[in-house]
């Protein structure tokens, strides 16, 4: 990672739902090429933070700067067009379409066309290439199955594949590992490392701390919508406030 190249800068981001302060004055920096982990107990505001950055929810206060340009409050498709793409915690494929046709949709986006992700007539091939890269066996029936017939492991990969079809700068993965078996996660980890090596910056929101800590360069911990700690995985793991947030008061084992 490149510590002097901030890609995304979040400052003082806040959002209230009714009386609930979901995200409160969160600031963070994402550097080019790194994997930034975001952890926190249930309801700590992780997914809301993702929704705020990607435009699915408009912030009450604060700014999100991508390469110096404030994108807070932009509509989601404009933010995705910049190359900041996300996966959804509860997978959102197009269930009535075959796996490879799920990718025809993002391949037709203005960004994919600009980035040269396949012309008319080549898109099926490009879609199959991306699926193969992400772990769909190319010569099997799997890429041709309807998304409604695919198991969770493949649907999670399909979420990543949808991001890759846009040639992204930043992938924000919202609980990519949840619901997967240990061996499925083990096969995803090298894939993410490979994508990072290819120049993609990651924000990974995770509950699976062990797997995240082996991947992430830096980690931010949230609790009750505020940032309680930031640092290397080791520092965050040792932080008493993080332990307290996860285990409750007195839970410093």
């Amino acid at each position: 990672m490149n510590m002097d190249k901030p890609l995304l800068k979040v400052e003082g981001l806040s959002k209230t739902f009714g009386g609930l302060q979901a995200v409160q004055d969160v600031s963070m920096v994402l550097y080019q090429g790194e994997i930034l982990g975001i952890i926190g107990p249930n309801g700590s505001g992780k997914t809301t933070l993702v929704n705020l950055i990607t435009g699915f929810i408009k912030p009450d206060k604060g700014s999100v700067k991508f390469r110096g340009r404030d994108i807070a409050g932009w509509p989601p498709h404009k933010i995705a067009d910049l190359g900041i793409v996300r996966t959804f915690q509860n997978m959102r494929p197009y269930y009535s379409l075959e796996a490879y046709r799920n990718l025809i949709v993002p391949l037709n986006s203005p960004r994919a066309k600009r980035m040269g992700m396949g012309r008319w007539g080549e898109r099926d091939t490009v879609a199959l290439d991306i699926l193969e890269e992400i772990g769909f066996e190319r010569d099997s029936f799997v890429p041709y199955k309807k998304a409604s017939a695919l198991p969770t492991g493949y649907l999670k990969r399909l979420e990543l594949a949808r991001c890759l079809a846009l040639k992204p700068e930043v992938i924000i993965a919202d609980e990519l590992f949840s619901g997967l078996s240990a061996s499925e996660i083990a096969s995803l980890v090298p894939l993410i490392e490979k994508l990072q090596g290819g120049g993609i910056t990651f924000i990974m929101v995770e509950h699976r701390l062990r797997e995240l800590f082996s991947l992430a360069n830096r980690v931010i911990a949230l609790d009750f919508g505020t940032k309680i700690c930031e640092g290397s995985p080791k520092e965050v793991m040792a932080n008493p406030r993080v332990r307290q947030a996860y285990l409750g008061p007195g839970g410093s084992d």
Partner: protein, 337 residues
């Protein structure tokens, strides 16, 4: 004694290759298997005006095609874009008046006024519906239901476009053959065109919007833009039907905004099978002649009509063509478990 457990097993007839809609055809039998349903439909429609004798039933055939077009428009929006429109009459009204104006005021002949009115009407309907596009589900449906009612009241209240008298003296087609074959060929073109479209890239994006508009947004695509394109396509079909009606009756009037044009195509789609496109056409082939046959019952007509409608929905609730396509493409057998 233990009861023997059985379940129905369904197997595809073996010529599909991996994906839907990709077939490996290696013999004339297989080609015939694939083409037969299409040929039956095309030939049946083309021969229908020759087979019926009376001018009255020739007219019924054209009306079947008009409702078929409206049903296609509804099925496309509802099952491939996820927008349930209860306002089919908006398109027939706008298209009918546009074509009458193009013919009477601009002096354009029929073969120009109908296509022009369809496209211009499509634009007008899309602009009118633009504010409702962010609405979903029942909210969109209710707002679309209002449009034809409001427009016909406006025409009446401000006495514009001929007011309650309408615009008489619109040029006709000049004979029953032109009348029949113009609408039959339009229907076939739209049916096969739409079937092609929903498997092209544009169609896949629209189906994506239906399945999951959040994921479409996350893919950097403006959902509103594609909904507008879809509404334009569907309204153009509806306007084509309306424009044709104005020339058929040589008159454009308030009845072009009638509730029938909104509701009957939906009933036809439900009976024929939603999401198949051809189901909307088959549905109108059943409903429209049925409603004519029931005329002999006088005031009881609508009661019998409702009974038949209920019968279809109870016995084949999935829709006739969904059922027929499954029977045609899959073996079924009982197996013991």
């Amino acid at each position: 004694m233990a009861e023997v457990q059985r379940r129905k097993e369904r197997l595809d007839r073996g010529i599909k290759v991996r994906a839907e809609s990709i077939y490996a055809v290696s013999s004339w039998e297989e080609a015939a298997y694939l083409l037969a349903p299409r040929i039956i439909l095309v030939l049946g429609l083309l021969l229908a005006p020759l087979l019926v004798q009376s001018p009255y039933w020739k007219r019924v055939v054209t009306v079947v095609c008009v409702y078929g077009l409206l049903g296609l428009s509804f099925d496309f929006l509802a099952h491939f874009v996820g927008l349930v429109s209860l306002g089919g009459a908006l398109a027939t009204g706008v298209g009918g008046y546009a074509s009458a104006l193009a013919n009477k005021a601009l002096g354009l002949p029929v073969f120009l006024s109908i296509p022009l009115a369809s496209l211009a009407g499509g634009v007008v309907c899309t602009v009118l519906l633009l504010p409702c596009l962010p609405l979903r589900g029942v909210y969109f449906a209710i707002v679309t239901l209002m449009y034809p009612l409001v427009l016909s009241r406006l025409v009446e209240a401000f006495n514009i476009l001929g007011g309650t008298d309408g615009i008489p003296g619109v040029q006709g087609f000049g004979g029953p053959w032109a009348e029949s074959y113009i609408i039959i060929s339009a229907l076939l073109l739209c049916l096969f065109g739409l079937r092609r479209l929903v498997n092209e890239d544009l169609g896949l994006i629209l189906r994506g919007v239906k399945d999951n508009d959040q994921a479409v947004k996350a893919s950097g695509i403006s959902v509103t833009r594609y909904k507008a394109i879809a509404v334009f396509i569907a309204s153009t079909l509806g306007c084509l039907a309306g424009a044709y009606l104005a020339h058929l009756y040589m008159w454009a009037g308030l009845s072009l905004f009638a509730l029938d044009f909104s509701i009957l195509p939906i009933a036809a789609t439900v009976i024929g099978g939603g999401g198949t496109l051809v189901g909307a056409v088959v549905g109108s082939m059943i409903l429209i002649p049925l409603s004519e046959l029931l005329r002999e019952f006088g005031t009881l007509r609508i009661a019998f009509y409702a009974l038949v409608l209920m019968g279809f929905i109870v016995v084949r609730s999935e829709g006739l063509m969904v059922w027929a396509q499954r029977k045609y493409h899959q073996f079924e057998r009982w197996v013991q478990i």
